[in-house]
């Protein structure tokens, strides 16, 4: 994987994490409905898992 491709994947992953959290703040402020928040959480989850698995490396510490 090239470093540019990795960087793009990481950006999508971090965006997925952001929309897994920021909408909760908007619900707390009363600026977003809980249904919309639930849908955004699902979207964030899909974005994170579909991209992070490609750039997070495995390791093995035994145990």
């Amino acid at each position: 994987m090239t470093s540019t491709a990795k960087r793009i994947l990481q950006l999508i992953s971090y965006f997925g994490l952001a929309i897994s959290f920021v909408p909760a703040l908007l619900v707390f402020q009363g600026m977003m409905s809980k249904d919309t928040y639930f849908q955004l959480l699902l979207l964030g989850m899909l974005l994170w898992f579909s991209t992070a698995i490609l750039w997070i490396k495995p390791d093995n510490l035994g145990g």
Binding site: S20, G30, K34, M45, P58
Partner: protein, 499 residues
């Protein structure tokens, strides 16, 4: 007890761990990032949904939770950094070989067998957590132990068997790829916990941060235990946070991990696991539990059932359900794999997959017992108190024995099959601490009070506050017995003289 012919049981045990017999070499060491990621992923498990909830049900106050858990987690991090990691980077051996050197092979076999059983129990509790999520999606209610449902319904058991079978089969196939997947899941899970808690606060009446502390004390951590639950307080929170991983830090289990560390200071990486998993996640699951109970009571339900799935669904919808499934699954799998490895010690010539499947069956049976989740905090405390002493002996053997003029790794040097000082210290400390707790908490042990001196009879032990007494008693018994053992062994002193 001198060994003349090495029994096959010991040979099998050694062969199983043969790969790890040599100290880790310089080129195989890892840096800070690896340990931060590993701790952050390993300590956010499905059981965090349970333990945070239990603290609410046991009636702790907000101060107990925020300050008590902080103190307990700081003590846990210090235990990893100051006790476990320094020995790990000096010896660079697994805990198995370190126990083997000081306690002898027979006690190590016993340790492995009992450890396998408790690992099955813990893996079962994780399967139980995941099952609540799958069952909720399928419209099957989870058993409410607090309301007297001690046996799950048949459909729920079938779901648990299904989830447990998947986990057992994956453990049989090997868990290297799953370890990678667990590492991917890890950064996402804390966000779901945090998001769920924040989004649930308005339902408890918190609409700005200045209201939080008042509502936290009135509606979340109220200081009043629910009916049928023991009252917990500040020291229970400190003790639970410190105790729940005591096998890994003061019990030295994580020397197996930290033997790969470049420096002992990497022991402080444990802070990422503790403060994300055992602080933030416990607080968030407490908030989710309170929000769920309030919403159920408002809906006219008399006995709310705050299962991991129910509280996650309320706070984070289907993403929360996925989080519960993955949190249980990714931690149950390596736990079961390790249980299979430990069980293999006592099963001559059996293939690894058969042993792991048998461990899987024990895990599935455990998953179908609702009491396991209900008493998870106490199970974790007993597990810590029971297995901690052998790690304490490693610490004393390493630091204190040379200063006292005692021979290190005496059992190995003398070829002993059992180190009796280790046996006395291990069982003695647990028996004393258990008796001091049981005399006031179990009806059948009340007679102990009549036979104790007044001072000890008045001592009311909290299970979670037994960490220090247990450690002190264990190392005192072990050291005193070791002095006696080595004083009466002329070989010990001749060996020492040769050094």
């Amino acid at each position: 007890m001198e060994s003349t012919n090495t029994p096959t049981l010991i040979e099998r045990l050694d062969a199983l761990y043969e790969f790890d017999r040599e100290p880790v070499k310089e080129g195989n060491l890892y840096g800070w990032g690896t340990f931060i990621a590993m701790f952050a992923s390993e300590h956010i498990a499905g059981t965090e949904f349970v333990l945070g909830t239990l603290l609410v049900l046991h009636g702790v106050t907000a101060f107990d939770v925020f300050v008590g858990l902080a103190l307990g987690n700081v003590l846990a991090v210090l235990s990893w950094a100051m006790m476990c990691a320094p020995i790990a980077v000096k010896e660079r051996l697994t805990v198995y070989w370190q126990i083997r050197k000081i306690a002898g092979p027979y006690l190590t076999v016993l340790y492995s067998g009992l450890f396998a059983l408790i690992l099955c129990l813990l893996a079962g509790s994780m399967v139980n957590v995941s099952t609540t999520a799958v069952a909720l999606t399928a419209g099957i209610p989870s058993p409410n132990f607090a309301a007297g449902e001690t046996i799950p319904s048949l459909p729920w058991i079938m779901v648990a068997v299904g989830v447990g079978t998947v986990i057992a089969v994956l453990a049989v196939l090997g868990f290297e790829r799953l370890t990678h997947f667990a590492k991917v899941v890890a950064p996402w899970m804390p966000f779901v916990f945090l998001a769920g808690a924040i989004a649930s606060l308005p339902s408890l009446g918190v609409t700005n941060l200045s209201q939080f502390w008042e509502v936290a004390n009135q509606k979340i951590w109220t200081g009043v235990a629910q009916e049928g639950q023991m009252q917990y307080g500040f020291w229970s929170c400190v003790g639970l946070a410190w105790l729940c991983n005591i096998c890994q830090h003061m019990g030295m289990g994580d020397v197996t991990i930290f033997r790969y560390a470049k420096k002992w200071q990497m022991g402080f990486c444990s802070a990422f696991g503790m403060f994300l998993g055992h602080y933030m996640a416990w607080i968030c699951s407490g908030i989710l539990c309170a929000a769920f109970v309030h919403s159920e009571i408002a809906a006219g339900i008399r006995a709310p059932n705050p299962t991991p799935a129910n509280i996650a669904m309320l706070g984070a919808g289907y993403a929360g359900i996925v989080c519960v499934v993955l949190a249980g699954w990714t931690t149950a799998n390596p736990t079961l794999y390790r249980a299979g490895l430990a069980f293999q010690v006592a099963t001559p010539n059996w293939r690894r997959w058969i042993v792991t499947l048998i461990a899987g069956v024990v895990m599935i049976i455990t998953a179908c017992i609702p009491a396991v989740l209900h008493y998870l905090d106490r199970i974790v405390a007993y597990y810590g108190l029971f297995f901690m002493p052998l790690g304490a002996f490693i610490f004393i053997d390493f630091w204190l024995f040379p200063r006292l003029g005692l021979v290190r790794n005496f059992a190995e040097r003398e070829g002993l099959l059992v180190s009796w000082p280790a046996m006395v210290g291990w069982f003695g400390s647990f028996a004393i601490c258990f008796a001091l707790y049981a005399k006031d908490n179990y009806e059948s042990f009340r007679w102990i009070n009549d036979r104790l001196p007044v001072m000890l009879a008045k001592y009311q032990a909290d299970l979670f506050s037994q960490v220090l007494p247990a450690w002190v008693i264990a190392v005192t018994l072990y050291t005193v017995c070791s002095i006696l053992q080595q004083r009466f062994s002329s070989t010990a002193f001749s060996t020492e003289t040769q050094q």
